[in-house]
């Protein structure tokens, strides 16, 4: 079992390290890096499914007998590009967040946004004084 499945287990470990970084770290940039690690683990998993013992890259050539499967590779090519697109958008948001809040630590950002004024409404007992506190953000 170990000899045939060790590859999968190591890749799952890499995925989980990435997922752990995404959830536990508060720094927005670190989260994005963790997200990349998580996704790369998934990509490696897909490619490992297509590998054939003694096979070769799926480029048809008269000297090759066995080929590894092309479909997982096609899927992962798409997924890599989607991943970097998401990273670029996330980084753009992080830059804007830094410019408006002065920090990229999520907890700090939430603290600072709690003191934001609502959109110009006079204080009212209905709102508990001062508009929307961060209560809307929490689950």
């Amino acid at each position: 079992m170990i000899a045939t499945h060790y590859v999968y287990w190591v890749l799952f470990a890499i995925m989980m390290i990435g997922l752990y970084v995404v959830i536990s770290h508060g720094n927005l940039l670190k989260k994005l890096i963790g997200l990349s690690i998580f996704q790369v683990g998934v990509f490696l998993f897909y490619i490992s499914l297509g590998k054939v013992r003694g096979g070769s890259a799926p480029i048809i050539s008269p000297t090759v007998q066995t080929y590894s499967h092309p479909l997982p590779q096609v899927l992962i090519l798409t997924a890599i590009v989607v991943g970097v697109a998401t990273l670029a958008v996330g980084l753009g948001l992080a830059v804007r967040i830094f410019e408006t809040y002065g920090t990229v630590e999520e907890d700090e950002v939430i603290t600072r946004s709690a003191t934001d004024p609502a959109d110009g409404v006079p204080e009212d007992s209905l709102n508990g004084g001062g508009g929307d506190a961060a209560q809307g953000d929490e689950a």
Partner: protein, 332 residues
């Protein structure tokens, strides 16, 4: 598996896991970014080991190249040191990881053995379609290019749209690119003062661009294709921008041109689809492009589509880089 394969695989996997753990622990984010680049390089090597050469190529260009440059650029614009993770975040993270990891290990019991030739994936009829019939129907040696651009061409169009969306989003967030006059490098320090950097990058640029074109057109016969070509092409201009200054780079490729090129790719790709519908086939049925000789139609379709991809990917990568870079320059 042969012993060399197993040894190399174990070595790479071990280094990969170690690198991932190091990235997790590093609080100095410049270091984390560079180790992440190393992580991507190891991943690309592992891809080559597992016979996924196109994917390795893309991972090397995108994961090591583009991602690292973008993260470093953003780190230059923000703080580069991470605060300590508070205790109360760690518990839910551990819970999720244990649950998900446990589910995966549980699932792995019924997964086919690594490298087996009679797994459901290998024995499915489409394997023959891709590896054997494709040579008659399309006739291109690189099967991955065939599947990517023709059999599953719609996925690739979707992917192109995702790239397009990302480029537009960065523009939406960071504003239109600053005009070249505002992008002069600050201070008296210029990278061009270093003779070695100036001369070597000047020499390299035409080769980089030429290599990108080679990758684009040779993607039918070896690893390569539109995405890799677009990324490499963009990296040539990123190099130019880094060394000679953003203003010079933006004079070579004005934002207006980039804007147009970004939109051109999806329009051409979708245009090919609409053309094939008008010629009597379904969306993206390249057979219709040359009614008498379907393989020529396929070749033409794949060529046009890959070029459209390369064009837009290059333009979007340049737009994203210029967007981040001009943010840093104009802020000062």
């Amino acid at each position: 598996m042969s012993t060399e394969f197993t040894l190399v695989a174990i070595a790479l996997l071990a280094m990969l896991t170690l690198t991932a753990m190091i990235i997790s622990r590093l609080r100095g984010l410049y270091g984390a970014a560079m180790v992440a680049a190393l992580f991507s390089l190891l991943t690309a090597s592992l891809f080559v080991l597992m016979d996924a050469v196109d994917v390795a190529f893309t991972e090397a260009a995108v994961g090591v190249g583009v991602s690292t440059v973008l993260v470093l650029t953003v780190l230059a614009l923000t703080h580069s040191r991470e605060a300590v993770t508070p205790r109360n975040r760690r518990l839910p993270a551990v819970a999720v990881v244990v649950a998900a990891g446990g589910a995966l290990v549980y699932a792995s019991q019924d997964l086919p053995a690594f490298g087996s030739a009679d797994s459901p994936i290998q024995t499915h009829p489409i394997t023959d379609v891709y590896l054997v019939e494709s040579q008659e129907d399309i006739g291109i040696p690189n099967v991955v290019t065939e599947v990517l651009a023709s059999y599953r061409g719609l996925d690739t169009l979707g992917e192109l749209i995702v790239v397009f969306t990302a480029g537009l989003t960065v523009l939406s967030l960071l504003g239109t690119l600053a005009p070249p006059e505002d992008c002069k490098p600050p201070g008296r320090f210029h990278l061009t003062d270093y003779r070695v950097i100036r001369i070597v990058s000047g020499l390299l640029m035409p080769f980089i661009l030429l290599f990108a074109l080679y990758v684009l057109f040779h993607g039918d016969y070896g690893p390569g294709g539109g995405f890799q070509a677009g990324v490499i092409f963009a990296s040539g201009f990123v190099l130019y921008g880094l060394v000679f200054g953003l203003d010079r780079a933006q004079q070579v490729v004005p934002p207006r041109v980039l804007w147009l090129l970004v939109s051109l790719g999806p329009l051409v790709y979708a245009g090919v689809g609409v053309t094939t519908m008008l010629l009597g086939g379904t969306f993206l049925d390249y057979d219709m492009l040359n009614q008498g000789h379907p393989e020529s139609g396929q070749h033409l379709g794949i060529l046009v589509v890959e070029t459209a991809i390369g064009l837009t990917v290059a333009a979007v990568m340049m737009t994203i880089f210029f967007g981040f870079a001009s943010r840093g320059v104009t802020r000062k």
